[in-house]
C-alpha cells in the first residue's frame, strides 16, 4: 500500500501544480489521506464505541438517533418583565431550555446606579440588582419543569442563590433544579473581561459552589468551562481545547483541595466550545477533545464514575467569523458551522444570527438560526447514524494529531505551574493576541480570504435594508428607580447583618453559598454583596500585555 501511494504521488500527482495547504494551527495538510495515515491507530482503545470510553465517537451510544441535541439560542432582554414574557412564550411553544444573558453591570457585580455602569444597563442582557428582579424574570414559571442556563461568572454563586431563593418561594426544592451557571472565571482574566476578584479567591468561590451543589443542587451543572471566548479572541482550535482543559484542571484541583472527591463534582462539569470555519478540523476537534478529557479524568484524577469522564458540551457557531459586509453571507457561514458542530457531537448548540456583526440580533434573525438547526436535524439526514465521519482517513488522522497537540500544550501549561500561573504571567493572553495579530495580517495580505471583506466585495452594502435591534433608552432610569424603591421598603437591618455574615465567611474558610442565600433573601443587592467581597478579596487589576 505504502509503495503504491509513493508511486501515485511521484508519477501521477506530481504532474499537478497547486499551493500547499495547512491547518489552522499551521501544520501541513497532505493532498490525500489513505489507510497508511492511520495505520498505527488501535480502533478499540483509541476510538472505541459511542457511549464507551474514550468516547471519541460520542458520549451516548445512540447519539441523535434517540434524542436530538438541545437547541438553545442565546438571547438577552433588557428588563426582567421582557425576559419573563419571552420565557412564558417559549414554554408555550414547547421549549424547556431557558437561557439568561445578564447585562455587564450585573456580570461585574455593580448595581444599576453605579457610575461605571452608565450606558450599559440592560444592554448586553437583563439587569439584575436584587432578588426582586429574579422573581420577576421567573414569575409564573415552574422552576422544577425547566432547565436554565445563566451566562454569569464572577458573581455566579450569588445569582444561583437567587435562583434557589425564587424556587423556594415557589415551593420547589433546590434538589429539583436543573440548569447551568457558566461560572468559569479564568477565561475572564484572559479574554472575556468580566472579572471582579483576583484568581485565587475567585477560584475558591467556584470550589464553594462545587461543594454546595453536590449536597443541595445535585442536578445543577455547576460550571461550563469555556473555550469559546478564547477562540473568538483569536486562538487556534488546539489552543482552545488545551487552554480550556488547563482551566478545568485548575478548578478540579481547587475542588479536591477543598476536600471533595473527584466523582462527587466532576460529573456536573460541562464545557462550551466555538465551532469555526474549518469544517473537518472542527469535527476532529470535538472527537479529539472527548478522548483527551476521558483520559485526563481517568488517568490523572482517577475518576471511576463514567460520567466524570464524559465530555458534555454546548457549542456556539463563531460570532467572530460573521461579517458586517454583505451580512446575508453570514446565514451560509452559520449553516456550515452548525453542520460541523452537529457532526462533532454536542449536547446542545446555539447558532449565531446573521446580523450579529451589526448589532444584537433581531427576533427574526434568531428564528432563522434556530431554523438552520432544525433543517440540519430534520432534512439533511446527517443524524441517521452515529458519528458518520468516523473512519474518514482525514478525520481520523486529524483527530489523532489533535489529541497529541492538545496533550502537549496541557503539559506545557502544567510545567508553568498550571492555568492560574499561566494566566497570571500573561502567557495565555500573549498566545491568543499573537494568533489574532497573525490572522489580521493574513487577511490584510489576502493570504486568508474572507468572502465579501477582502474578496468578492461589492460597492453597496445592504446593511441599511436590514432591520436592526433597537434598545429601549428608558431601561436604565427604570432600573435605577426600582432599586431606589427597594432600598426604602426592605429591612435594612437584616441586610446589614446578612452582609456582615458574608464578610465573616469570606474572611475564613466557611462555604459562602449559604451566606449568599441568606443575603439575597433579605434583598441585599448583587452590588452590595460584591462590594463586601471586594473589600475582603481585593480587586483584580487586568494584566496589560501590550
Amino acid at each position: 500500500m505504502l509503495g503504491e501511494r509513493k508511486r501515485w504521488e511521484e508519477e501521477v500527482l506530481s504532474q499537478r501544480r497547486f499551493a500547499p495547504r495547512k491547518t489552522e494551527w499551521g501544520d501541513p495538510i497532505k493532498p490525500l489521506y489513505t489507510p497508511d495515515d492511520i495505520a498505527g491507530l488501535d480502533y478499540l482503545s483509541e476510538i472505541g464505541f459511542p457511549g464507551e470510553y474514550p468516547y471519541v465517537r460520542g458520549i451516548h451510544p445512540d447519539m441523535y438517533l434517540g434524542r436530538a441535541w438541545t437547541m438553545r439560542q442565546y438571547s438577552g432582554f433588557a428588563t426582567a418583565e421582557e425576559c419573563n414574557e419571552r420565557y412564558k412564550f417559549l414554554l408555550k411553544t414547547g421549549q424547556t431550555g431557558l437561557s439568561v444573558a445578564f447585562d455587564l453591570p450585573t456580570q461585574i457585580g455593580y448595581n444599576s446606579d453605579h457610575p461605571l455602569g452608565k450606558g450599559e444597563v440592560g444592554k448586553a442582557g437583563v439587569a439584575v440588582d436584587s432578588l426582586e428582579d429574579m422573581e420577576t424574570i421567573f414569575q409564573g414559571i415552574p422552576l422544577d419543569k425547566v432547565s436554565t442556563s445563566m451566562t454569569i461568572n464572577a458573581p455566579a454563586a450569588i445569582l444561583l442563590a437567587m435562583y434557589i431563593a425564587v424556587a423556594e418561594k415557589q415551593g420547589v426544592h433546590s434538589k429539583a433544579l436543573r440548569g447551568t451557571t457558566q461560572n468559569d472565571i479564568l477565561k475572564e482574566y484572559t479574554v472575556r473581561g468580566t472579572y471582579i476578584f483576583p484568581p485565587k479567591p475567585a477560584v475558591r468561590l467556584i470550589a464553594d459552589m462545587f461543594a454546595y451543589c453536590h449536597e443541595n443542587v445535585p442536578q445543577w451543572n455547576t460550571i461550563s468551562v469555556a473555550g469559546y471566548h478564547m477562540r473568538e479572541a483569536g486562538c487556534s482550535a488546539v489552543q482552545e481545547v488545551a487552554f480550556t482543559f488547563a482551566n478545568a484542571i485548575a478548578y478540579i484541583e481547587a475542588g479536591l483541595k477543598a476536600g471533595l472527591k473527584i466523582d462527587e463534582f466532576a460529573p456536573r462539569m460541562s464545557f462550551l466550545f466555538d465551532t469555526h470555519n474549518k469544517f473537518f478540523e472542527e469535527v476532529a476537534k470535538y472527537r479529539a477533545a472527548r478522548r483527551v478529557w476521558a483520559e485526563t479524568m481517568r488517568n490523572r484524577f482517577g475518576a471511576k464514575n463514567p460520567k466524570s469522564t464524559m465530555l458534555r458540551y454546548h457549542t456556539q457557531t463563531a460570532g467572530v467569523s460573521l461579517t458586517a459586509q454583505q451580512p446575508e453571507n453570514n446565514i451560509v457561514r452559520v449553516a456550515f458551522q452548525a453542520l460541523a458542530a452537529v457532526l462533532g457531537g454536542p449536547q446542545s448548540l446555539a447558532a449565531c444570527s446573521f446580523d450579529e456583526a451589526l448589532a444584537l440580533p433581531t427576533e427574526k434573525a434568531v428564528r432563522l438560526s434556530l431554523r438552520t438547526q432544525q433543517l440540519i436535524l430534520e432534512e439533511t439526514g446527517v443524524t441517521d447514524t452515529v458519528d458518520p465521519l468516523g473512519g474518514s482517513y482525514y478525520v481520523e488522522y486529524l483527530t489523532k494529531e489533535m489529541v497529541k497537540k492538545i496533550k502537549a500544550l496541557i503539559s506545557k501549561i502544567d510545567d508553568m505551574g498550571g492555568a492560574i500561573a499561566a494566566t497570571e504571567s500573561g502567557y495565555i493572553q500573549k498566545e491568543i493576541e499573537e494568533s489574532a495579530r497573525r490572522f489580521q495580517k493574513e487577511v490584510e495580505s489576502q493570504e486568508k480570504v474572507v468572502v465579501g471583506v477582502n474578496k468578492y466585495k461589492i460597492e453597496e452594502d445592504s446593511e441599511l435594508d436590514t432591520d436592526i435591534f433597537s434598545f429601549n433608552p428608558e431601561v436604565e432610569q427604570l432600573q435605577k428607580a426600582k432599586l431606589g424603591r427597594l432600598r426604602e421598603k426592605r429591612d435594612n437591618h437584616a441586610v446589614a447583618s446578612a452582609l456582615s455574615a458574608v464578610r465573616k465567611a469570606a474572611s475564613g474558610n466557611e462555604n459562602l453559598v449559604p451566606r449568599f442565600l441568606d443575603a439575597v433573601k433579605v434583598y441585599a443587592t448583587v452590588g452590595e454583596i460584591c462590594d463586601v467581597l471586594r473589600d475582603v478579596f481585593g480587586e483584580y487589576d487586568q494584566l496589560k500585555t501590550i
Binding site: Q107, K118, G119, K123, G193, L322, Q440, V450, I468, Q542
Partner: protein, 131 residues
C-alpha cells in the same frame, strides 16, 4: 527629530471585547506611532484625563456592548470642557450604521466597523494628524 503621532487606544465602559483594540494598537505601533493602551473598564473621565496627560493626537475608542451611544459623545463633551477638543477621536466596534450620524454630530471624526483593514485606519490617522 520628528515627533511621532501619539495615540490613546481606549476601552470605555464595561465591555470586555479587546481583540480589536489590541490588534489595532499593534498595527499602529508597527506604523511608527506611539500607542498607550488604557486597558478595560475606563470611564470617559479617565480616558480624557489620560489623553491630556499623555498629550495624544488621537483617541481610538472601542465598544462592542452597545454603550457607544452614551460613552463616545461623553468623551467628546469632556474633551471640549477641558479644552482638548482638537484631539482626533475615532470610534470602532459593533456600531450600527444608523448610530453613526449622531456620533459624528458629537464630534467623533470617523467610525470604523468590523472588517476594517488596520492599514485604512493608519492612513486615515496619518492624513488627519500633522506629525
Amino acid at each position: 527629530m520628528e515627533r511621532k503621532i501619539r495615540v490613546l487606544a481606549a476601552k470605555p465602559g464595561l465591555d470586555g471585547h479587546d481583540r480589536g483594540i489590541k490588534v489595532l494598537a499593534h498595527a499602529l505601533m508597527e506604523a511608527e506611532m506611539e500607542v498607550i493602551y488604557t486597558g478595560l473598564r475606563q470611564t470617559p473621565e479617565q480616558i480624557v484625563n489620560a489623553a491630556i496627560q499623555e498629550d495624544v493626537d488621537v483617541i481610538c475608542l472601542s465598544s462592542l456592548s452597545g454603550a457607544h451611544d452614551y460613552l463616545f459623545p461623553e468623551v467628546m463633551n469632556l474633551l471640549k470642557e477641558k479644552e482638548a477638543g482638537n484631539v482626533l477621536v475615532l470610534g470602532g466596534g459593533v456600531i450600527p450604521k444608523r448610530d453613526i450620524p449622531a456620533l459624528k454630530e458629537a464630534g467623533i471624526a470617523e467610525v470604523f466597523g468590523p472588517g476594517t483593514s488596520t492599514s485604512d485606519i493608519v492612513l486615515y490617522i496619518k492624513k488627519h494628524v500633522d506629525g
